[in-house]
């Protein structure tokens, strides 16, 4: 065996998990915003939570190739779990977060069996259906969820008994940032592990993945469950930092928006969700304060232009930069239904 080849191979694999400069920049900037952008903590909190939510979708769409139009089911379940837990049991945020994660993971595990088989269009609609049914359940269980009026009276105790949630959203942002970062670290380990690699083989070619001994169904169930837990925690963060839960946590537009944001930001490199959330929410905030009534037109126009001149080119600055620094080719657009 040629030792040179061995060295190259080892280096190539090691490069995959080494931190790249832009990654440091991203998280340091997010941290710096705690002090530098005090008047934007509220929207930053929302962006961070949405970014985490979108990252959880990236785990299944970008890595395992499962397109979902009902990911808000898990987000919503997490939000309601955290909210109801705070009202009925205790306002401790970390316990609520953990419980929400477990609850959503449970739902993810159960519903994962529905998405195993089937073409992508069917998957889109099945996930959508699950979310719609769940939303309707939340609407009907008025005694538990507050129904269409929303869940009121959520009060969250200070984090670790010390950090109280303030009206500027500072604690909220720091809290969401830390939780998102920790979950990101785990996700990052996960996607470079043999498990993560095997997911990509399933995404690219499930037939062959099974022919090299990968238990395809189990892997999909596992990642779907993990992604559900992540989404649930994101939902819990929203419930805890806004101290309110309404039916829109689970609504179709939340599933659709998160898919949009992820696609805008790019799939398959974990940061796409955060980048997409930043772009989408940021634009929405700026344009809608400029024209509250017709901002959707401009957002729509931007989407259209984005696609026409090529999302890849638009993302060049961010995505390819990041990717190159991570030592791999630019993230490719994924297909939902498969090309012909």
């Amino acid at each position: 065996m040629n030792p040179e080849h061995r060295r190259i191979a080892a280096k190539y694999l090691a490069d995959k998990w080494r931190w790249k400069p832009l990654e440091y920049v991203f998280w340091l900037a997010a941290l710096a915003a705690v002090w530098l952008l005090p008047s934007h903590h509220l929207i930053l909190n929302e962006i961070m939570i949405t970014g985490l939510f979108a990252m959880s979708l990236d785990l299944i769409l970008g890595y395992a190739g499962i397109a979902s139009l009902g990911h808000a089911a898990f987000f919503g379940l997490g939000a309601y779990t955290a909210g109801i837990f705070a009202i009925r049991v205790t306002g401790d945020p970390l316990l609520g977060l953990a419980l929400a994660g477990f609850a959503s993971a449970g739902l993810g595990f159960v519903t994962s069996f529905l998405v195993l088989r089937g073409v992508d269009l069917a998957r889109l609609m099945v996930t959508l259906g699950v979310a719609l049914v769940l939303g309707e359940i939340a609407n009907q269980l008025t005694w538990l969820t507050g129904g269409a009026d929303g869940l009121q009276g959520v009060t969250i105790a200070p984090i670790l008994g010390k950090f109280e949630f303030d009206i500027f959203g500072r604690t909220a942002y720091v809290y969401s940032l830390i939780v998102s970062f920790l979950l990101f670290l785990i996700a990052r380990r996960l996607v470079i592990s043999p498990f993560g690699l095997s997911l990509r083989t399933i995404r690219d070619n499930p037939l062959r993945a099974s022919a090299i001994g990968t238990p395809v169904d189990r892997r999909l169930i596992a990642i779907y469950t993990v992604a559900a837990a992540y989404a649930g925690i994101a939902g819990a963060l929203l419930a805890q930092t806004t101290q309110f839960v309404s039916l829109d946590v689970i609504a179709l537009h939340r599933s659709a928006d998160v898919l949009l944001m992820l696609v805008i930001g790019g799939t398959g490199y974990l940061y796409g969700g955060f980048v997409g959330a930043l772009i989408f929410k940021g634009l929405q905030d700026v344009i809608s304060s400029w024209t509250p009534q017709y901002w959707t037109f401009w957002i729509g126009l931007i989407l259209v232009i984005l696609v026409l001149i090529g999302r890849d080119r638009m993302n060049l600055a961010v995505a390819t930069g990041l990717a190159r620094l991570r030592g791999k080719p630019a993230p490719r657009p994924r297909t939902i239904v498969g090309d012909r």
Partner: protein, 284 residues
């Protein structure tokens, strides 16, 4: 009981006319055109404007409800859509959602956000009693129009030269081109036709479903359900799927009102879990 069945069928028919254009673009041209509802809305508005502002009678507006969205679709296809045929579906989703956003804001700006109303001619209002079953006249009208449409569509697709060309173009663009078929022209015509059908559906359905700027989003789910449950390989699939969903929805809401909203979604999930390619697609 029979009245419920009848209402369900009529409702399903409206769903079908609205969705069949989508099943053409998605199923035959493999383009995920979520903005399909925009064309339906265009048809509805064309009909409403002609009727309310120009005083054209309802029936006479229907051709325009087909032609205007068709023209609109043709222009969009030539200028924008055709660039995206070979792009990944997520790009198509992004693009067409962008179109929905734009159209909603634009219609709101031009027409206002209030619902548009269609006034039916006298002879289509009310209902008659047929062998003890109460039959709504307008719903019967819809059933008749839609049935004719289904048959005509199936004929066009299977019996005409254009249908053959389209199927050839869909199966293999290169081969079709080699056979001297102008695939780009065929696609453009098909897209325009699908848009026109959507527009017609919008005009016919406005009476039952309502019509306002949020129309393209409000009914998107229903279109998608019909097309996925029915399968995208034929028109008969979505047709029966529409009927099934229409009847299931109406009957579900009548007999178990408290669970009404669940019925249509549950039907969809069950169907797709067991038949991922749709209910009416022959197993491979």
């Amino acid at each position: 009981m029979l009245t419920i069945l009848f209402d369900g069928i009529a409702y399903g028919m409206v769903l079908f006319v609205l969705a069949c254009g989508l099943s053409i673009t998605l199923g035959l041209m493999n383009f995920v055109n979520l903005a399909h509802g925009v064309f339906a809305m265009a048809g509805g508005y064309a009909s409403a404007i002609l009727m309310n502002r120009a005083g054209v009678p309802f029936l006479a507006t229907l051709p325009f409800a087909f032609l205007i969205p068709a023209a609109f679709g043709l222009v969009l296809e030539r200028t924008l859509y055709q660039r995206l045929y070979n792009r990944p579906h997520l790009d198509q989703v992004l693009f067409t959602i962008g179109l929905i956003f734009m159209s909603i804001a634009a219609v709101d700006y031009i027409m206002g956000s209030q619902p548009q109303l269609i006034t039916l001619p006298e002879w289509l209002r009310g209902r008659v009693d047929v062998f003890g079953v109460q039959i709504g006249l307008y719903r019967s009208f819809i059933i008749v129009v839609c049935s004719v449409l289904v048959v005509a569509l199936q004929m066009i697709l299977t019996k005409t030269r254009f249908g053959a060309q389209l199927r050839a173009a869909v199966d293999d663009q290169r081969v079709a081109r080699g056979l001297g078929i102008n695939t780009s022209l065929v696609f453009a015509a098909t897209f325009a036709f699908g848009s026109g059908l959507a527009g017609l559906g919008g005009a016919l359905g406005a009476e039952i479903l309502g019509l306002d700027p949020t129309f393209p989003f409000k009914f998107l789910i229903y279109f998608m359900i019909v097309v996925t449950v029915g399968g995208t390989s034929s028109l008969t699939g979505p047709f029966f799927a529409s009927l099934l969903l229409g009847v299931a929805d109406v009957a579900g809401k009548y007999y178990v009102p408290s669970l009404g909203a669940f019925v249509i979604y549950t039907v969809m999930i069950v169907v797709l879990v067991f038949r991922p390619h749709g209910l009416f697609v022959r197993a491979r």
